[in-house]
């Protein structure tokens, strides 16, 4: 009975506390950072968090001057929890600007919420293109990328530099890989490619023997996916000896540095494309990487989500400074004008739709100081989320899906 009583008391006081209207009316400016710091995708949220923490340390004088406070929220990688945390930020914690969410689905849920709320939001790593395209809203900008963006450069590179004509693409069956495939096809086909045959498998597949045994002939295979699926595919691809027949290319996250030790030397020479590379050697990046590893430990390599969080935070602080406060309209206007000439990944600015126009690196897996890392071997500069295409025409077209755009490059779509 005692327990029941204390539990009752506890829950009642919990409810009261949780609901306490803590709206502070002072001149503190609050930035809320939301990302999955627990759950299956906590890696991405932790990276963002570490990036923001580094930016906080480096900008601490400017934060003090403006009286800026930062609060971290855990989205658990779940759309509903994300919306709940965003509501808490706005109506409980008096947050003035949001950084995040990190994942695709939570990004779209966050966008839906932001549309109703009007809160200034800098989306960091979340990549669905409609966040800054068909569903774009004035108060939301992005510091990261769209799924198609790096693939615009990769499609061209594979057709023009590698000279491949026919690609077999095996990918995870959901919207992010569709978007990556879409970007790839749209430039690959126009740069001399002939066909891309797509084979989709459900996420969480661990046995690829049926796919590998019946793999069509092509000049190269592109694995359009990442994570444990990608790792399993990579290993079985080599077990089947297919690497001798067709080289294996990767989607943007396939040769993620965390997976490289497990892929081992077989990964050497693996090509993929991203707006980021841990093997960049320019001064801004090296300074960022060294500071990051000093702060978070030598074994922690900053990846794209960390850099995007870091940059998103800097964009937010800059916007608050140039708006001279946290007045929403002014902050949003300043955010949309963001120019980041010194970003670690390379200079970028936002397009009219709020997405970075930035360098895309063609990365090769190389061994540097005994570690496998992605080293940029080619840079395509000023790539926008629309690639080489006209924004209005692009938006009028069909969104990428399982089987759009067409896989046959002779299709009238490509004329």
């Amino acid at each position: 009975m005692k327990y029941a009583k204390s539990l009752m008391l506890g829950s009642v006081s919990a409810l009261t506390l949780a609901s306490g209207a803590q709206l502070q009316a002072d001149d503190t400016i609050r930035i809320g950072v939301v990302g999955p710091t627990t759950g299956v995708f906590s890696f991405f949220g932790e990276q963002q968090r570490m990036g923001v923490e580094l930016a906080m340390e480096q900008l601490s004088d400017r934060l003090d001057e403006r009286n800026i406070e930062v609060e971290f929220y855990d989205s658990q990688g779940d759309a509903e929890t994300t919306v709940d945390r965003l509501r808490a930020m706005e109506s409980r914690d008096d947050v003035d600007l949001v950084i995040g969410p990190v994942l695709g689905g939570t990004g779209l849920a966050g966008l839906e919420w932001a549309q109703g709320s009007g809160m200034p939001m800098v989306i960091s790593y979340s990549a669905p293109e409609d966040i800054t395209m068909r569903n774009r809203v004035e108060n939301v900008v992005r510091a990261g990328w769209t799924g198609a963006q790096p693939m615009f450069a990769f499609g061209r590179y594979v057709a023009e530099e590698l000279g491949h004509k026919r690609i077999v693409m095996v990918g995870q069956d959901y919207s992010f890989p569709y978007n990556q495939a879409g970007g790839f096809l749209k430039t690959f086909c126009r740069a001399g490619g002939e066909s891309v045959e797509r084979i989709w498998h459900p996420t969480g597949t661990s046995d690829y023997s049926s796919i590998l045994a019946t793999l069509p002939e092509g000049d190269a295979v592109l694995y359009n996916g990442a994570g444990s699926d990608g790792l399993a595919f990579f290993q079985q691809y080599h077990d089947f000896g297919l690497d001798a027949r067709m080289p294996l290319l990767g989607g943007s996250n396939f040769f993620a540095v965390g997976d490289l030790p497990e892929m081992g030397e077989a990964a050497l020479g693996g090509l993929s494309a991203l707006q980021y590379a841990e093997g960049l050697e320019n001064d801004n990046f090296v300074a960022f990487r060294d500071a990051f590893r000093e702060m978070h430990g030598d074994d922690t390599m900053p990846l794209a989500p960390a850099e995007h969080g870091y940059v998103a935070f800097e964009m937010a602080v800059k916007a608050i400074e140039s708006a001279d406060g946290a007045e929403r309209k002014a902050v949003i206007a300043a955010l949309r004008e963001s120019e980041m000439p010194d970003a670690p990944r390379g200079p970028f600015h936002l397009d009219d739709y709020g997405n970075p126009v930035q360098n895309i690196y063609i990365n090769e897996v190389q061994e540097v100081d005994g570690r496998l890392v992605n080293v940029p071997i080619e840079t395509y500069s000023d790539v926008s989320q629309f690639g080489p295409f006209d924004p209005e025409e692009y938006l009028a077209g069909e969104p990428d899906s399982r089987d759009f755009p067409p896989g046959d490059c002779s299709d009238p779509y490509y004329d």
């Binding site: 627990t38 945390r85 706005e90």
Partner: protein
């Protein structure tokens, strides 16, 4: 009887006072709590009356949510119509699922509902043309009637509160009705009920469909609360969350599931404010409360309540002493 009325009045008063006294976030939290209380009630109707532990009750909420998102956003059907169609379609799905599961028991029922739930989840994830896949369908909004925006947190609260209350009262009546007692009887001794000439399978089937429809109501509010329908509410995590809330609060009583949901949501948002290890804390609380109160918090409170007063009518379930 008098005490029951008092209790209902107290609940009513709290429901009215909450949006008047509390901040926006607390009201939004209450909305979520009521939505999940409906889902947990749907779970408890089967678990508490029939001993059927279902892992597909949130699936019905998801089916209802997807129906609204697809018909409302893709086809532009008007608001009251999509809600009716959603409930209709959810009930139909419950009929189909019910036909498949009605003869199963215990573990096989659990596994069947798990399989069905996961199938629908996979469908929502992969049938991209219809469901929007992983990205879902955005822009699900309630309309504005003559300047009254139904999406406003407090207006929405009124809608959810009235509906939730109505559903709970209906289930309360159901539990006390001959049909409700028949369900208990089936759980107690199926053979005897059959021998007495009761249509056991039919009763179970009806209960299953009813529970599905209640979950469908939860789904209606769930999708309008989020503004976006994506596969995540159909995932196993949410099903287990509802199960946890119902067990914590006590699935054998009417109001136990609501209590469990309220405690879990309050715990989550409270603990998450202070630590990233909130799952550990919540896990520990769950562990302790299930060890100490295996029949749920509501049961403990009711026992206490009863000792001081005359026993209630058949509101509480059987007192079979130490059953496992």
């Amino acid at each position: 009887m008098k005490r029951e009325r008092l209790l209902i009045l107290a609940v009513l008063a709290a429901l009215v006072a909450w949006p008047l006294l509390m901040g926006d976030y607390a009201v939004a939290q209450a909305n979520r709590a009521m939505i999940y209380a409906l889902a947990a009630l749907s779970f408890s109707l089967l678990a508490g009356r029939l001993g059927w532990f279902s892992l597909c009750q949130t699936t019905f909420a998801g089916i209802s949510g997807y129906t609204i998102a697809i018909l409302g956003v893709r086809f532009g059907l008007p608001f009251p119509l999509v809600v009716m169609l959603a409930l209709l379609f959810t009930t139909l799905s419950a009929v189909v699922f019910g036909l498949l599961t009605v003869r199963s028991r215990q573990v096989s029922f659990l596994m069947l509902t798990l399989a069905l739930g996961q199938m629908v989840w996979a469908l929502s994830f992969q049938w991209v043309d219809v469901t929007g896949g992983y990205n879902g369908i955005a822009g699900v909004r309630l309309p504005t009637y003559g300047g009254l925006d139904l999406n406003d947190t407090r207006v929405f609260y009124a809608l959810v509160a009235v509906t939730t209350l109505a559903v709970f009262l209906a289930v309360w009546r159901l539990y006390r009705s001959p049909f409700g007692l028949l369900l208990l009887g089936i759980q107690e001794n199926e053979q005897r009920m059959r021998a007495l000439g009761h249509p056991v399978y039919l009763a179970r089937f009806v209960a299953f469909v009813l529970a599905g429809t209640i979950s469908g109501v939860a789904g209606v509010f769930l999708v309008y609360d989020m503004g976006i329908m994506s596969p995540s509410p159909l995932g196993l995590g949410h099903a287990v969350w509802v199960l946890t809330a119902a067990v914590l609060g006590g699935y054998r009583s009417l109001w136990g599931p609501a209590l469990g949901v309220a405690i879990l949501i309050a715990l989550e948002s409270l603990v998450a404010q202070y630590t990233d290890r909130h799952m550990m804390v919540i896990g520990l609380v769950l562990l302790l409360s299930i060890l100490l109160m295996p029949r749920g918090l509501a049961d403990v409170l009711e026992q206490r309540f009863k000792r001081k007063s005359k026993p209630l009518a058949s509101v509480t379930t059987t007192n079979r002493g130490d059953e496992s």
